[in-house]
């Protein structure tokens, strides 16, 4: 099959590789119809995530048609499915309490040591990412092997086209969980740092949850415009003193909830130099610790802090004083995708949520490398790239 493979920093290529096959009883094989490039894929592209090996297939925002099933899969050939980026067994303690992204059984035993050393316990398996998260082949390819296919994939009704549901794989649940973690109440004023896909979906989710006012903070004009269209108030931090503005816009008491989506690549991770990497790579101007510090100062006493953004390693000058003295609630974490897919699919079906506005470019798989380059270099206008293996290549 053809697949987008990683070979080193800024070196991704579409190559011919072996097709996947059923390996374990609960596996399924899907033929990819749509697969998106995620912001965190850019970290892989930039070579700042350890644990990749040349030839690894990227891609964790995947959907397609079931073409083969193992004896223990509950899927049927011909079904259309969206596949969560987190691989979850459904049977361990964490899966049972719907903390799917902490699945204890999806990262192969011999690959759990590195993340255990970093975080105390191992990470779960993820598609198309690092070998620290299992080294699973991703879906920027013609076919994908899906482990635990009886737990992860959600079946999509035929009348919903790919573009409407693809983001159930990652960024829509991630934005939703970010808002849920902010425990939004009807009178709340909510501030969201970062208007990447996750920040925008967090804006959308917070409004859907009934927030009185949502304020989005970024510096890319096009992305701020998208936030405004969703119903948010916006702040361009290049032009405005963010803390002053937020105090004024919250009537002088501070915002009720803050969401740090500067690390919009919310399911990625990196290590002790992550901060510097982000300063250089995310291009949001403010460094990531600065955004979080700012969020901790902006939130009111007794307010709520949600961090969907990536913090993989260590940071310094963390405002422990504000953290403690203000009596805030802090919630974080990789997205428990499987917990949200059913609810969010319903909201897509009934029209509450429409995520298609985000897609700026659709490309055939063969032009995937071009998609990476432009997504990286033209962040204002290339907001989201969806690869379509079935699409004819253009000149």
């Amino acid at each position: 099959m053809r697949a987008l493979t990683w070979h080193g920093t800024k070196d991704v290529r579409v190559e011919t590789v072996d097709d996947p096959e059923i390996v374990n009883p609960r596996d399924a094989i899907i033929k990819i119809t749509s697969t998106a490039i995620c912001g965190s894929d850019l970290h892989l592209y930039d070579g700042v995530i350890p644990g990749l090996q040349p030839g690894d297939i990227l891609g964790h925002e995947n959907m397609g048609e079931v073409v083969e099933v193992g004896p223990k899969s509950t899927l049927k050939k011909g079904q259309r499915v969206v596949v969560p980026f987190t691989i979850s067994c459904g049977g361990c303690f964490h899966c049972q309490i719907e903390q799917y992204s902490a699945c204890e059984n999806s990262n192969p035993a011999e690959k759990q040591d590195a993340s255990t050393a970093l975080y105390g316990q191992p990470m779960a398996g993820l598609f198309g990412y690092s070998h620290l998260t299992g080294g699973y082949s991703g879906g920027q390819a013609e076919y994908l092997r899906v482990p635990f296919s009886d737990v992860g994939p959600i079946v999509i009704p035929d009348h919903l086209e790919d573009d409407k549901v693809l983001f159930l794989s990652d960024i829509l649940p991630t934005g939703w969980m970010a808002a849920e973690n902010a425990d939004i109440q009807p009178d709340d004023t909510v501030a969201v740092w970062g208007c990447g896909p996750v920040g925008l979906f967090a804006v959308q989710s917070a409004l859907a949850m009934g927030a009185a006012k949502v304020i989005a903070i970024d510096h890319y004009p096009h992305r701020l415009e998208l936030a405004r269209k969703l119903g948010a108030k916006v702040i361009n931090f290049r032009e405005t003193h963010v803390l002053d503005a937020l105090m004024e816009m919250s009537g002088g008491i501070g915002v009720d909830a803050v969401i740090d989506a500067v690390g919009m690549e919310a399911h990625g991770f990196a290590f002790d130099n992550m901060l510097e990497v982000v300063k250089q790579k995310v291009g949001i101007g403010a460094d990531r610790a600065h955004a979080l510090r700012e969020a901790l100062l902006a939130v009111r006493f007794g307010g709520k802090v949600s961090i969907p953004g990536v913090y993989g390693g260590l940071t310094d000058k963390f405002p422990t004083g504000a953290l403690m003295e203000k009596g805030i609630q802090l919630r974080t974490g990789q997205t428990h995708v499987q917990k949200y897919t059913k609810t969010l699919l319903e909201k897509i079906e009934d029209g509450t949520l429409d995520t298609t506005f985000l897609i700026s470019h659709r490309l055939p798989l063969e032009q995937a490398a071009e998609g990476y380059k432009n997504f990286k270099e033209q962040q204002d206008t290339w907001t989201k790239v969806v690869l379509k293996p079935g699409m004819e290549a253009t000149a």
Partner: protein, 225 residues
């Protein structure tokens, strides 16, 4: 205590700590007759093997994993030692010995070699504990113990594995150290994770895209090369 046991632990006098690590269950007979008084691990409640001390000539390692299955089911799986190669990567096979109650464990070593260890059950408590040890004349001097304890609430069973071994001398020892025993803690950790996967999910996770690319398949290829 038999003379066999005396001989077995003859060189073991300095390892006061190992008794603490293994507990009275696995080495009960030994501990009860030792002339040296046992130094109790009275500092804290942690398992002995997490102590910052060595255990003389024996290396001791231990690991605990929680598995969402009843302890009777886990006990039954383990008690049939022939199941263990499914989760223990360096264990090629386990078969019954000609001596009643004993098993022969065939352990992989580099270069396609294998080493055999004959074991006997040292102690067992139905549903709770299984302890085994190598018999005299085995190529490795080793003991192990696995315990099954109810975890709180609905969390299943806490499975605790402790292995003690004395690295053998000579060529076999060198090979084994390389193959298996240099990082027994790592091996024990991975083996228990695989046990957990098999029991909780019915399969052992692999990120291989094809059957011939799994870790097990590739190891077999290397051994046959």
């Amino acid at each position: 205590m038999t003379s066999h046991d005396d001989e077995r632990f003859g060189g073991f006098g300095t390892a006061a700590g190992i008794g603490l690590a293994l507990g009275a269950a696995a080495l009960g007979a030994f501990l009860s007759t030792r002339s040296q008084p046992r130094r109790d691990h009275d500092g804290d409640s942690a398992p002995g093997f997490t102590q910052r001390r060595s255990f003389g000539k024996y290396d001791v390692t231990g690991r605990t994993v929680t598995i969402r299955k009843p302890k009777s089911e886990l006990y039954a799986f383990w008690r049939n030692f022939q199941n263990l190669p499914q989760v223990m990567e360096n264990l090629e096979s386990v078969r019954p010995s000609q001596t009643e109650g004993r098993s022969i464990w065939t352990i992989k070593a580099p270069g396609g070699r294998t080493v055999e260890v004959e074991t006997e059950i040292a102690r067992e408590v139905e549903g709770e504990l299984i302890a085994w040890r190598s018999v005299e004349g085995s190529e490795i001097d080793t003991e192990g113990r696995v315990t099954f304890e109810d975890a709180p609430g609905e969390r299943g069973t806490r499975v605790g594995l402790i292995i003690a071994y004395r690295p053998p001398a000579g060529e076999v020892g060198r090979l084994l150290a390389k193959a298996f025993l240099r990082e027994p803690a790592v091996q024990a950790r991975h083996d228990l994770k695989r046990l957990k996967m098999l029991m909780e999910t019915g399969e052992i996770a692999t990120s291989a895209r094809r059957k011939d690319q799994t870790r097990a398949a590739q190891q077999n290829q290397q051994e046959n090369a």
